[in-house]
Assembly symmetry: none
Homo-oligomer: 230 residues x 2
DNA sequence: GTTCCGTGTTACCATGTTGTTACCGCGCCA
DNA sequence: TGGCGCGGTAACAACATGGTAACACGGAAC
């Protein structure tokens, strides 16, 4: 179980590392926001302990970037104990928020609680099936009920995954851009390109999509689900 | 999204209920440990907010019993702020632990964080229904009782939303202009344009509106409601 | 090096959306 | 009776958006 600790106070970082190692976790560390993102991408840890007050890139920004790409559990640390700060942190996607100073043992307990919940929930399978369409994330392939598998590019997988994970819901253009390219990444032109390319691959008739619906002025939605609205 | 609140302090229980209801949750309550278990079995809520200091059956015991049967998320409340207490609570299977006193808004944020992790879709329903007309804000569509959905433009959605949210009331021309275009945005000509276009889309007979009524010299009102709001 | 693939860029067209102007009819009031 | 303000209707221009296509670039594979 690998944990990334992002904390610029070296002494505190050491204390946390020590405690968590003793609790049986694999620990990697970063001391500023940019390094954190690099480490995260390279190691893909199972959980991130994230200080908010960081040099180079703010902790909230780091959280946003990680959330744009993955669902890695995040526990925030901060001296800010105000309600607004905590609510903001949680709404940005954190799983827990601890106010400094805190006791290492409580951190361990909270990490375990979050990981327990993730373990109970997360499907380790790299496959995702909605309606008649199946996406295999590890092989970069989509398959349509008995038909031959279709090879997808990494970006196409990201897009299709985002849409399928939120099947039936409308995802905004900007949100999708963030999800696929990360904040500061793409633009509308590239998104429509990507949607077009994906459609030509997976739609039987791209002019009349049965999977990816356009909601003009808003975004796109994955359909073909029995959506079970009610 | 149904939440069971277990809290013996009736005043606090009411405050929490009120806040969570306002946040859009379905609330059921219990005021002692045994009642909590009964309620839990009968209603199988999506999450439990559990005070630890309870009559009849201790909160920790309640937690244990629930955990023995199911994986329902649990957020513990307690005046005990010691590390041992928190660690014990989390190790017993709680997903989060909040020390009293706490702010309602933080509780809402933490509930959302846990539910998000569990994978619950808590889309606060982007739909708005008044009388026989239904507006889907996320899809920019209006639907009239069984008939096909009608695609609306963003501005039309803004206008219709304003009218429907205040169904039965008269909204002034200037107020509507502000709502739709923002201060410094539109003029009367554009509003009447927009009303006209909206009417041609949603009214069966635009010359005799059944939804959008004109109040000359004042503004517009959404009708077709059994108004009688309770 | 050459080829191929994934990606980014530019361009074009059709359509949809919004802003503008104009005209009509009606009730009001001098 | 004749302006005047108001609201409904219409036509049109300006602009934004989405789909399509062709091409350029860079890195990986051969």
């Amino acid at each position: 179980m690998k944990i990334l600790i992002v904390e610029d106070d070296l002494a505190l970082s050491d204390v946390i590392s020590f405690t968590l190692r003793r609790a049986g976790f694999d620990i990697i560390t970063a001391h500023d926001g940019l390094a954190a993102l690099t480490m995260w991408e390279q190691h893909l840890p199972d959980l991130v302990v994230l200080d908010l007050n960081l040099p180079k890139l703010d902790g909230l920004a780091v959280c946003k970037r990680i959330r744009a790409q993955a669902d890695t559990p995040i526990i925030m640390l901060s001296v800010r104990s105000s309600d607004e700060a905590i609510v903001q942190g949680l709404e940005l996607g954190a799983d827990d928020y601890m106010v400094k100073p805190f006791s290492p043992s409580q951190l361990v307990a909270r990490i375990r609680a979050v990981l327990r919940r993730v373990g109970a929930t997360l499907t380790p399978s790299s496959e995702l099936m909605v309606g008649t369409l199946q996406l295999d994330r590890s092989r970069n392939e989509a398959q349509c009920l008995g038909q031959a598998a279709i090879r997808l590019t990494p970006l196409e997988v990201r897009l299709l995954e985002a849409l399928m994970l939120n099947a039936g819901q409308v995802l905004s253009t900007d949100g999708l851009i963030d999800t696929v390219w990360g904040v500061e990444g793409g633009d509308r032109t590239m998104l429509k390109q990507l949607v077009y390319r994906l459609r030509t691959k997976i739609e039987p008739d791209p002019t009349q999509p049965i999977y990816i619906e356009t909601i003009p002025g808003v975004g796109y939605a994955f359909i073909n689900a029995k959506s079970a609205k009610g």
